[in-house]
C-alpha cells in the first residue's frame, strides 16, 4: 500500500510544491497586515472558500483522472482490497493537503509567535487542523461526487455546512467536524467499488448518502417554495414590473407582526397605541411626535467563548487612537495584549485592574465601540487615558445581558433577558464604580421572542414599546406589541397591548413542517445541539409542545401519505429489492417529500434484459473444448 501512496505523492509533486510555496508567500504577505488573527468576515469567507475549493478540486481531479475506464481497471484490479486502495489515495491526498495548506500556516504561525511582538494563543494553532479538516472534508466530497453515478451526489456538499458555521469551543469545535469527516469518509469509501456504474446497495451506505441528500432537498424545497410563493404574490400585486420595485413594507396587513416589523421610531410607538382612545393615549401620541426616540434590540445573541476559533470572534480589539495602541484579547491569558502600532512593539498586558496588576477577566469580553466590554453579566468601560477597565454594571445571578449601553439624547439603556434598564448618562463620567439603574422594567415576554424596543423620552418619563414575535412565525411564541409607560418616580404601567396577527399564511410559515416534520425537527435540534446563538436555540420540549394549526397538521400528513404512495409506485421501476422498496416507502412516510425526491438521486433505474423471443443464432449453447 505504501508504494501506491508514494506513487500518488509523486504524481502531484510539482503542482503540490508550487502551491505550497505560493501559499506560504501569500500568508507571509497577509501576515504583514495587523488583522492576521482577527480577519474580517469577508476574509474568513474567502479563506474558507479557498481551502474548501482546494480540497474539492483535488478530490475531483485525483479520482476523476483514475475513473476513465482503462485507468480505473488499472487502479482497481490489483491484489489490494478497494478500501485499501482508497485509503492509499486518501492518505496521499491528506499528506498533500497538509503540505500545501497546513505546513505554510504552521510556519507562519510559528514565525508570528516566535519572531514578532504578536501574541499567539493556542486556539490560533488549533485553527490549522480545523482548516485542514475543512479542506479534507471537501476533498472527500469531491471523491464521492466523482465516484457516485448520480448527480445528486453534489448534495452531500451540504454536510460540511454542519461544522463550517458552528462556533463550538475548544476541542469541541472538532467534534462536529470529525463526525462529518467520518460520515464523508464512509460514503466515499463505500462508493469506491470496482463497478462504479451501480448505485450503493448496502443499507447503511444507502442511508448515509440518502440522509444528507434529503436534508439538502428539504432546504431546496423550503427555499424554492418561499421564492415561488413570494414571486407569485409580487406578480399578483404588481405584475411583471413589480419584481424590481416591490416593497414588502406595504404588503402585510395592518395589525400583523410582519407589518409591525417595518415600523420604526415614532411610527412604531404610534402603531402600539393604535386603537387606544383614552385621554392618556392621546396625550402620549402628542408627546412622541416631539420626543427623542431610542431604538434597540437583543442584538448580542452570542458571547465569545474561551478558546473558540477566530471565526466567531466578532470584535476582540480595543484601539487607543490617541496613543496608537491596539489591545487584543488573549484567550490564553484572559487579558488584553497591547501593541504599539507605530513601532510594532509589545507594550504589556491590560486586565481588570489596568496595566499594573493585570487581573484576568473571568469571561471573554465582547468589545463594543472601542469603549465598552460586555460579558454575560457585566459591562466594563475602558478608559484609554487611565489605561483602566472599570466595572460599570452588573446584573443579578441567573440574568444575562443581551445588549448594553445604548445611548440617545439623555437616555442610556441596557437589555437583559429579565429586564430593560435605564441609567443616567451623567453617571458614565463617574469613575467610581458600578452604576445603579435609575429604573428597570421587567421584560413583559421572552427575550428570544423579542424583536425590538423603542423608547420615547417624555416630559415625565419614558414610553417604551416592546415588539414580540420573532419566533411567532414558526409557532414558538405569541406576536404582540406592549406599550409601557415609565414615570420619573420609578412607577410603571402597561398602557396598551396589541395582539398581532401573522403576516404570511400558515402554509408559507409552516412549509418546512409540511414538507417534512422530521427533517424540520432534525434541523431544529441539530442546530441547537451544535451550538447556535442563544436566540435561535430550540429545545426538544418546545418543538414537541408547539401548537400547530389543524390545516398544517393535515397538510403534513397528506404530503407524507402522498410521498409514501408515490414512492411505492415509482419504486417499482427502481433497482430495489422488495425489502428495500418497503424501507423506502416507510422512509417517505416518515421523512416526507424530500425522501421521495431523493429516491431518484440515490437509487438506480431497474434494467431488465428483455430478450426478443426469437433471435438468430448459429450457436447459443455453451461450448467446451474437447
Amino acid at each position: 500500500m505504501w508504494h501506491l501512496i508514494k506513487s500518488e505523492l509523486l504524481r502531484f509533486r510539482r503542482l503540490g510544491f508550487g502551491f505550497a510555496v505560493a501559499h506560504l508567500l501569500v500568508l507571509r504577505a497577509v501576515s504583514g497586515f495587523g488583522d492576521f488573527f482577527a480577519p474580517s468576515a469577508a476574509k474568513i469567507g474567502l479563506g474558507l472558500l479557498t481551502y474548501a475549493l482546494t480540497g474539492l478540486i483535488l478530490g475531483l481531479y485525483q479520482i476523476g483522472s483514475h475513473k476513465k475506464i482503462h485507468r480505473w481497471a488499472y487502479l482497481i484490479h490489483r491484489p489490494l482490497a478497494p478500501r485499501k486502495i482508497f485509503l492509499a489515495l486518501c492518505t496521499a491526498a491528506g499528506m498533500w493537503l497538509f503540505l500545501v495548506l497546513s505546513l505554510p500556516q504552521l510556519l507562519i504561525t510559528l514565525y508570528l509567535d516566535g519572531m514578532t511582538p504578536l501574541w499567539v494563543d493556542l486556539r490560533q494553532y488549533a485553527l490549522i487542523p480545523f482548516l485542514f479538516g475543512t479542506a479534507f472534508s471537501f476533498y472527500l466530497v469531491g471523491c464521492f461526487i466523482t465516484l457516485s453515478r448520480s448527480r445528486g451526489a453534489l448534495l452531500v456538499a451540504f454536510l460540511p455546512y454542519f461544522f463550517l458555521t458552528r462556533d463550538a469551543v475548544g476541542l469541541w469545535v472538532f467534534l462536529p467536524q470529525l463526525v462529518v469527516l467520518a460520515w464523508l469518509a464512509y460514503l466515499a469509501a463505500s462508493a469506491f467499488k470496482p463497478d462504479l456504474s451501480t448505485p450503493l446497495r448496502r443499507p447503511l451506505a444507502v442511508a448515509a448518502s440518502a440522509f444528507p441528500t434529503q436534508y439538502a432537498l428539504f432546504w431546496v424545497l423550503v427555499a424554492a417554495s418561499a421564492v415561488g410563493y413570494q414571486s407569485l404574490v409580487i406578480f399578483q400585486e404588481e405584475g411583471w414590473t413589480g419584481y424590481a420595485t416591490h416593497a414588502w413594507d406595504t404588503h402585510f396587513a395592518e395589525g400583523s407582526y410582519m407589518n409591525a416589523q417595518y415600523q420604526h421610531g415614532i411610527e412604531a410607538l404610534d402603531h402600539g397605541l393604535r386603537g387606544e382612545d383614552t385621554q392618556r393615549s392621546v396625550y402620549l401620541r402628542k408627546q412622541i411626535e416631539l420626543a427623542e426616540i431610542l431604538e434597540t434590540s437583543p442584538w448580542l445573541a452570542k458571547f465569545p467563548s474561551r478558546g473558540q476559533l477566530m471565526f466567531a470572534d466578532g470584535s476582540r480589539s480595543l484601539i487607543d487612537e490617541d496613543k496608537d495602541i491596539v489591545w487584543t484579547f488573549s484567550h490564553d491569558r484572559m487579558l488584553f495584549h497591547g501593541r504599539d502600532q507605530g513601532s510594532g512593539k509589545a507594550i504589556g498586558w491590560l486586565g481588570l485592574d489596568g496595566r499594573i496588576a493585570s487581573r484576568p477577566f473571568p469571561e471573554v469580553p465582547y468589545v463594543v465601540g472601542n469603549r465598552f466590554l460586555l460579558t454575560q453579566q457585566r459591562i466594563y468601560r475602558f478608559d484609554p487615558r487611565r489605561e483602566q477597565v472599570d466595572l460599570r454594571f452588573e446584573v443579578g445571578p441567573g440574568e444575562q445581558l443581551y445588549g448594553g449601553f445604548e445611548q440617545e439624547a439623555s437616555m442610556l439603556t441596557a437589555l437583559t433577558d429579565k429586564a430593560f434598564y435605564f441609567f443616567d448618562p451623567k453617571d458614565l463620567r463617574d469613575e467610581s464604580g458600578p452604576m445603579a439603574p435609575t429604573a428597570a422594567f421587567a421584560l413583559p415576554g421572552e427575550i428570544r421572542n423579542l424583536s425590538g424596543v423603542e423608547v420615547a423620552e417624555l416630559l415625565d418619563g419614558y414610553l417604551v414599546s416592546f415588539l414580540f414575535g420573532t419566533r411567532s412565525e414558526a409557532g414558538y411564541g405569541p406576536a404582540r406589541q406592549i406599550m409601557a409607560e415609565l414615570r420619573v418616580d420609578g412607577s410603571h404601567e402597561v398602557v396598551a397591548e396589541r395582539v398581532l396577527g401573522q403576516g404570511w399564511p400558515a402554509f408559507n410559515r409552516y412549509r418546512g413542517f409540511i414538507f417534512s416534520p422530521f427533517l424540520e425537527w432534525v434541523h431544529g435540534t441539530a442546530w441547537s445541539w451544535i451550538g447556535p446563538d442563544r436566540a435561535n436555540r430550540v429545545g426538544f420540549g418546545e418543538i414537541a409542545s408547539r401548537e400547530l394549526p389543524a390545516s398544517v397538521l393535515l397538510g403534513a400528513l397528506s404530503v407524507a401519505g402522498l410521498s409514501a404512495l408515490l414512492t411505492a409506485f415509482v419504486g417499482r421501476s427502481r433497482d430495489l429489492t422488495p425489502k428495500a422498496r418497503g424501507a423506502w416507502v416507510l422512509a417517505a412516510f416518515c421523512l416526507g417529500l424530500p425522501a421521495f425526491l431523493s429516491l431518484f438521486l440515490v437509487t438506480g433505474k431497474r434494467e431488465g434484459v428483455e430478450l426478443p423471443a426469437s433471435r438468430p443464432r448459429l450457436l447459443r449453447q455453451g461450448w467446451r473444448m474437447a
Partner: protein, 303 residues
C-alpha cells in the same frame, strides 16, 4: 480435480445492457485452464464488456460470471492477484519511472517472477530510470506485458494489446507472449482484430457476435468449417437464401466468390443444380474465414 473446477472462466446466461443496447446477450461461455483463447468479434460484439464483467468492473444485468472459480462481482484481492490484465491503452502511471513502477508491482505480487520480467523486458529498449511518460507506445506495451507476466498470473487478459503498435513492437510483443507462455500454467484470453496474430498464438477461437457466443473451436477447425468457392453462373445468380450455409458473396471479373459454412465437396453439385456453369474450391485462411463469418449479417442485417 473434477471437470468443472478446471474451468477458469465460466459465464451463464450473462447479459449486460447499456440503456437500449444489449452488449452481452445471454452469453454462456466455459473456458478451460491453459492455452491461448482468442476472443474475436466485430466492434460492439461485447468483447471488452465481457472482460469488464469478468473483472467485476461492470455488473451483469442478468446471469452470472465466474473467474478462477470465484464470482466476478466479489473477487478477493488474492484472486485479483492471479489475474493479469493488459489492455490497448497500456495505462501506466506516467509520472513514475520504470524502476519505481516495477518496485511497486513487485511489492504487490507475492508470486513475482523476476526472471520472466527481465526476459520479457529484454525484448524492448526500456531503461529502469526512464519515466513512463518518455516511453513509446510499443515500449509501454512491452513493459505492461512484462509486469503482467511477472505477476505469475493464472489468467492473463489481453484486450487488443497490439493496437497501434508498429511491426517491430508487435513482433516483440508476440514473441514475448509466446515465450512466456511456454511451460506456464497461464490461461490467456487474447482479444484482437489482427487475425495473423491470432493464427500465430491462439489454441482456441471464441467468436462473439452481438453479445452472443457464435463459435468456439480451435482456429484450424473453424477454418475447415468455412469454405470458399469461385462460381461461374450460366444465368443470373440465385437468391442467397437458396445457397446452403451462405456467408458472403463477391463479384470478381464476371465470376462470383462465395463463402459458405459447413459445406463439404458435395456443395459443388448443389451449386450446379442451382445453375453454376463452373465451380472451383478456393483455399482460405483464418482471416478470410472469420471475416466472412462476421460479415454475414452485414449482408443481411435483418436476418
Amino acid at each position: 480435480m473434477d471437470g468443472m473446477s478446471e474451468l477458469v472462466i465460466e459465464t451463464h446466461e450473462l447479459s449486460k445492457r447499456f440503456g437500449r443496447k444489449l452488449a452481452l446477450d445471454a452469453l454462456t461461455l466455459r473456458v478451460p485452464r491453459g492455452g491461448v483463447h482468442a476472443v474475436v468479434g466485430s466492434n460492439g460484439a461485447g468483447k471488452s464488456t465481457l472482460f469488464r464483467v469478468l473483472l467485476g468492473i461492470l455488473s451483469p444485468t442478468a446471469g452470472s460470471s465466474r473467474i478462477l472459480g470465484e464470482d466476478s462481482q466479489t473477487l478477493t484481492p488474492e484472486t485479483r492477484g492471479k489475474i493479469g490484465l493488459v489492455h490497448e491503452e497500456h495505462t501506466l502511471p506516467s509520472w513514475m519511472t520504470v524502476q519505481g513502477l516495477t518496485n511497486m508491482q513487485r511489492s504487490l505480487y507475492p508470486r513475482w517472477k523476476e526472471g520472466t520480467y527481465g526476459e520479457v523486458l529484454g525484448h524492448f529498449q526500456v531503461l529502469p530510470e526512464q519515466k513512463i511518460s518518455q516511453l513509446s507506445r510499443g515500449e509501454r506495451a512491452g513493459l505492461n506485458l512484462a509486469l503482467a507476466l511477472a505477476q505469475g498470473p493464472e489468467v492473463l487478459i489481453l484486450d487488443e494489446p497490439t493496437l497501434g503498435l508498429d511491426v517491430v513492437a508487435k513482433q516483440a510483443f508476440l514473441e514475448s507472449l509466446l515465450f512466456a507462455g511456454e511451460g506456464e500454467e497461464c490461461t490467456v484470453l487474447y482479444c484482437s482484430h489482427q487475425m495473423d496474430e491470432i493464427e500465430r498464438v491462439a489454441d482456441n477461437l471464441i467468436i462473439l457476435e452481438r453479445g452472443s457466443l457464435v463459435s468456439m473451436a480451435p482456429p484450424e477447425e473453424f477454418c475447415r468449417r468455412v469454405s470458399g468457392w469461385v462460381v461461374d453462373w450460366t444465368s443470373p445468380p440465385p437468391e442467397v437464401r437458396a445457397i446452403p450455409g451462405f456467408l458472403q458473396a463477391r463479384d470478381v471479373d464476371g465470376q462470383q466468390q462465395l463463402m459458405v459454412l459447413d459445406q463439404d465437396e458435395g456443395f459443388s453439385e448443389c451449386l450446379e443444380i442451382l445453375g453454376a456453369n463452373a465451380v472451383l474450391r478456393l483455399p482460405i485462411g483464418l482471416n478470410q474465414a472469420v471475416n466472412a463469418y462476421l460479415t454475414r449479417n452485414h449482408s443481411s442485417p435483418n436476418a
